[in-house]
Symmetry: C2
Subunit: 343 residues, 2 copies
DNA sequence: AGCTGTCGTGCAATCGATTGCGTGGAGCTT
DNA sequence: AAGCTCCACGCAATCGATTGCACGACAGCT
């Protein structure tokens, strides 16, 4: 285990001062050095196998070239593509990211924000923001660049990237109506998550725009975005005794659970009941019936958030940045929706 | 944006020297300080909201409390649980991890090893090791603690954690034979990945132990671990004209692709052909027929690798650590395997 | 020739925490 | 009471890179 090569070693080797070496090796300051000297220094650096010590540089410059990424849970399939999107922007610029999972717990969220701050991250991409976390607010106040993803923040000071939930719900509802559905139920997501909330609100709005009455009893609210809640909610809808020919779900997993339970109850999808999802998560093409859903650009959302953060990191005038980025979504028609059955 | 609180601030506040503050705040060295003084210092630290600067500490101590984690691709569903396993061990100990994706490219792998080294990670968990990467070997030689995961390294110097592939293949083969299958095909994984290689070797060994002849023509080799290759391989097997009643696949995705293609060809699984997977990846319970597979402790493997790395990081006598950790696997019988059809 | 301006390089402080060593004083022994 | 030990704390160097400032040399101008 040999000691690593430092600027001092190169300085000794080439007979110049460390500051000269430092300047010669930084492309920005290199122009201040005689070409001949700079080349000699670069050659020596190469020969000795010099690798800059980012820690030391970070101490001096107060930049670590590291960003924190907060997500609810990496095992949730919608997040890995987001992370790859983030990485695709950040890695070429020399940034690395530290990823943390909040598991949707506020206590963990608060703690992890501080973990990231302690590590001196230059900024944070927050894809797991709860409505109001004091530590996040504090970090933002203290000047930490933050971008939230998938979660809208009321505050207004923090720029965010979201998908066009409203448009997605609207497109899906139109699709169902074009298929002849008039009695449409909704399985809403958890109302403490902004996606659940936004999609429910969008559903109500979209229903209001149609001439159809929106029967509140045809809305069931899940406590989690998972299959078992989808199953429970569809069962609740059935138990209400009200007729419905389609269920618009706030998320793919809810939809899958609902289809499963309907099947158990002897109802076929889409022949008897059409069911739609939201997110277009990976692997849907392997599950039968293939789910009609709203496609979201996960990768693109990650990229957008990362680009936004990079701007925050570089530009002094953060005022002129968009605080709100809304990404387009797209209806993907597959097999789980079909013509409404005759009454 | 106010300046952050440093040891110096606390020293000024309490009227002692920074070194005393440093000692009072470190639980290990605290015993060298008068209780009364230490309490005063802690109170001041608390009051001022002191947060230690890890960068500065890292520069001095040469430890960043950061580890690098290399995986092929985070969007592959088997990796997120591994990462959570790693996190569950590392995070409580104060470590953070930097995750990088190699995409299975050797060039990226080499580059990313250096990225991690430049960032001064204390160690690396390498779940994407190719057979012989010079940069990885160099890092190990230079004293970088490394543990590999899921990939065996011939070298011998680097400890590794793997699953008991051999046992898994063996259990599956026994299961198929108990169901009456005698003509068993194998869809092997890519032979440039150690899992593909190991599982194929295990299949040959296991077949040899039975009295059945292992017909090499009933082995198809995939170029990637994905559904389309599973489909292609099963088609190749069918095209051979040889009879087989079961296909043991090296991986779940190959199995899913194979089932799909069989179905397209009018062959039912498991009635006509039994198909088995390997890995027990998430979401299998949603896909019909539910796949019989070998369950791997992804989370446990991550934990094991992390624990091993932590030992390397702390203990001086690294000699006495196990260089080889083999984790047990478990047969999970579901619906894709059934009794062999009558000839 | 002398003056000014420019350019290349060196000097030294700095970032914040850690740590080996030195020192002064308290407390104990004889 | 003198001398000794030991302990708590201070001092200062250190980790490696960055950067404002100063200085010296040389060129260009009058």
């Amino acid at each position: 285990m040999k000691r690593r090569v430092t600027l001092k070693d190169i300085a000794r080797e080439t007979g110049v001062h460390v500051s000269t070496v430092s300047r010669a090796l930084d492309p920005v300051t290199r122009k201040a050095i005689t070409a001949e000297v700079a080349e000699k220094i670069q050659a020596a650096a190469e020969r000795l196998g010099y690798r800059p010590n980012r820690i030391a540089a970070g101490l001096r410059t107060n930049r670590t070239m590291t960003v924190g990424v907060m997500i609810p849970d990496i095992t949730n399939v919608i997040f890995p593509p987001i992370l790859r999107g983030i990485e695709s922007v950040l890695e070429p610029l020399g940034y690395a990211s530290i990823i943390v999972n909040t598991d949707g717990e506020k206590e963990r969220e608060s703690r992890l924000v501080n973990v990231l701050r302690d590590r001196g991250v230059d900024g944070i991409i927050h894809a797991a923001a709860t409505r109001d976390d004091p530590m996040v607010a504090r970090a933002a106040e203290d000047g930490m660049p933050i971008v939230t993803l998938n979660r809208r923040v009321e505050d207004g000071a923090i720029p965010f990237v979201i998908n066009d939930e409203q448009s997605g719900i609207c497109q899906m509802l139109r699709h169902l109506m074009e298929l002849g559905h008039r009695s449409i139920a909704h399985i809403a997501g958890p109302q403490d998550l902004s996606t659940g909330q936004l999609r429910l609100a969008a559903f109500r709005d979209a229903m209001a725009e149609t001439k159809l009455a929106c029967d509140e009893r045809l809305i069931a609210t899940a406590t989690h975005f998972d299959e078992s809640e989808g199953a429970r909610c569809v069962e609740q809808l059935l138990a209400s005794g009200l007729r419905f020919t389609a269920v618009l779900c706030a998320n793919d997993r809810l939809a899958l659970g609902a289809i499963e339970r309907l099947h158990e109850k002897g109802l076929n999808c889409p022949a008897d009941v059409s069911v739609s999802g939201f997110n277009d998560m990976p692997f849907l093409n392997l599950i039968r019936p293939r789910l009609t859903t709203i496609h979201i650009e996960q990768h693109g959302a990650g990229q957008a958030a990362a680009r936004l953060l990079v701007q925050l990191l570089n530009d002094a005038e953060t005022d002129r940045l968009p605080t709100e980025t809304v990404l387009p979504v797209r209806l993907v028609v597959r097999e789980s929706t079909g013509p409404a059955p005759a009454p």
